[in-house]
């Protein structure tokens, strides 16, 4: 469903990604782990069009999308829930969710009726968002904002969802809740690429995982295989 081939990208003159290659098959959850500064978030941004790759390919559902604008890639079926959540603070929770489905809703009127089934689905998944539908997103707690960011990405009915550091800055109890949610998304058959600091928790939910070091993939395999790899054990799972 999502293929990344020999991706090179960076900021200005400094190249962060030096040939990243990975594959996310339909209906699987793939984890991308690695130390700070290894290039995980940069990989995500290069896939979703936030930065333009200087070389390499990004193939979404058979179509090459590298170099396209982020808004175009999103409308082709990629939903990226970014690092730091990035909810639209001044807008209401419901408006945030509606905007998640922006590319397939009418622009002026009737959008609410059309988005109703998806809204209900997200509210069933996160009942607390239903209670706070009219509240502005900026007033939510960190955990609720993360739920909103995931819900917003779900609204797009994406072919692939990128989840960047969903546990960042959250209390341990909430982190557990986030991982329960990720497991549910997986059970619903959503194709996911997950970047996580908590490598151990990520490997528990993932079908396959890549370990990044200095801008490229150092090790890859199923969680069980990585669990037997001594280098990975020492560096990330110790």
């Amino acid at each position: 469903m999502l293929q990344v081939e020999d991706l090179h990208a960076g900021y200005g003159a400094s190249e962060v990604l030096t040939g990243t290659t990975l594959t996310v098959k339909q209906g699987t959850l793939v984890a991308l782990i690695g130390a700070n500064g290894a290039g995980k978030t940069t990989t995500m941004r290069a896939i979703s069009g936030g930065i333009k790759p200087s070389r390499g390919k990004v193939i979404l559902d058979g179509q090459e999308v590298q170099g396209l604008d982020a808004s175009r890639i999103a409308s082709l079926g990629l939903a990226h829930s970014p690092e730091g959540r990035k909810v639209f603070g001044p807008l209401s929770v419901e408006d945030n969710l509606l905007l998640g489905a922006y590319s397939r809703l009418p622009r002026f009127f009737g959008y609410h009726a059309q988005a109703k089934p998806d809204l209900d689905r997200v509210y069933d998944l996160f009942p607390r968002l239903r209670d706070r539908a009219r509240q502005s997103a900026g007033t939510l707690s960190g955990g609720e904002q993360q739920m909103l960011a995931i819900g917003r990405a779900l609204m797009a009915r994406p072919k692939v969802m990128l989840l960047d550091e969903p546990s960042m800055g959250l209390a341990p109890v909430i982190v557990q809740e986030v991982f329960r949610t990720i497991r549910r998304l997986k059970e619903e058959g959503i194709t996911l690429l997950l970047v996580e600091q908590f490598a151990k928790s990520a490997l528990e939910v993932a079908d396959y995982a890549y370990v990044m070091e200095r801008g490229r993939i150092a090790v890859e395999g199923t969680p069980a295989e990585l669990g037997r790899n001594e280098r990975v054990l020492a560096a990330y799972l110790g």
């Binding site: 979703s48 069009g49 936030g50 604008d69 982020a70 808004s71 175009r72 999103a74 409308s75 939903a79 990226h80 970014p82 990035k86 909810v87 639209f88 603070g89 001044p90 807008l91 408006d95 509606l98 905007l99 998640g100 922006y102 590319s103 809703l105 009418p106 622009r107 002026f108 009127f109 959008y111 917003r152 797009a156």
Partner: protein
């Protein structure tokens, strides 16, 4: 007697102040989406007024001339965005400041060449006879300014709150990158904001022209006041510009009556300096803290 004169002056001044508010609102629209403003907005007001005058002279009735003028304003707003602002924003530079001034100068020369340098009257079917409301005399012409300003600002605010495109507009102003991830094109949203801002400028020109006359320099004083209003009120409060605009208009009118007409420009500049010294984010503005 004295109280009545003060009331009279304050009310007609406040109504004129709504024109400053409207122009300042045009700044807010583009600032929200792109953190840029058109420094040639005054020329946009002027050239749209001239265009509307031409429509009127060609025999278009008032109700057809207004939408024509607004459409022209929107087009000119798009020209400013495409020919100037976008080039700078793509480079992440502050070049839009100079580019928008240059395009304004271009509009100014174009207007001088097409319509000449003289100030001309702007015919209108709205009567200038005073009507008596609550002890003060107001003309229908002055009231039309208030009606026009509140109508367009109300429509745009409704658009932002009720339509998905409007919510997308707000999303881009809250977080441009995150909006892109939702499939919202920030480039198109910036274009939209410049188009709306151009229409708003055109309406300001159409509303004020029958009172002041139309000429190439008609907007130079207006724009200075609009800047003051935008700075004093902050660049994110539509409610704020209306209040500050009316306050400044009333103050100016009183200053010129009691101190002499030379003092008309003083309140705007004094307010501007006070605001910059005491509340640089505007009286109604939110303090923005840049996280590093």
């Amino acid at each position: 007697m004295n109280a009545q004169i003060i009331g009279q002056m304050a009310v007609s001044g406040a109504l004129m102040g709504l024109v400053y508010a409207l122009i300042a609102y045009g700044f807010q629209l583009t600032f929200a989406t792109s953190k840029s403003i058109n420094f040639g907005q005054g020329e946009l007001v002027m050239i749209s007024a001239f265009f509307s005058l031409t429509l009127t002279n060609l025999g278009f009735p008032y109700w057809a001339m207004v939408p024509g003028g607004l459409l022209f304003g929107a087009l000119m707003g798009l020209v400013v965005e495409r020919a100037g602002v976008r080039l700078a924003l793509e480079q992440k530079s502050e070049g839009w400041i100079l580019l928008s001034i240059i395009i304004g100068l271009f509009f100014f020369s174009a207007a001088e060449n097409i319509w000449g340098r003289d100030d001309r009257p702007f015919p209108t079917p709205i009567s200038a006879d005073p009507i008596h409301i609550l002890g003060v005399d107001v003309t229908r012409l002055e009231l039309s300014v208030a009606v026009g300003v509140f109508a367009i600002m109300g429509l745009i605010e409704l658009f932002k709150r009720r339509t998905l495109l409007g919510k997308a507009f707000e999303a881009v102003s809250a977080d441009r990158d995150a909006a892109e991830l939702m499939g919202i094109s920030s480039t198109r949203t910036v274009m939209l904001s410049y188009g709306l801002s151009g229409s708003v400028a055109a309406l300001a020109g159409i509303l004020v022209s029958p009172i002041t006359t139309v000429g190439p320099t008609m907007a130079s004083a207006l724009i200075l006041k609009a800047f003051s209003v935008a700075v004093v009120a902050g660049l994110d409060s539509g409610f704020g510009v209306v209040l500050v605009g009316m306050f400044l208009g009333a103050l100016e009118s009183l200053a010129s009556f009691y101190l002499g007409s030379g003092w008309r420009e003083a309140p705007g500049l004094i307010l501007l300096i006070l605001a910059l010294a005491l509340r640089p984010n505007g009286v109604f503005g939110k303090a923005t803290i840049r996280k590093v």
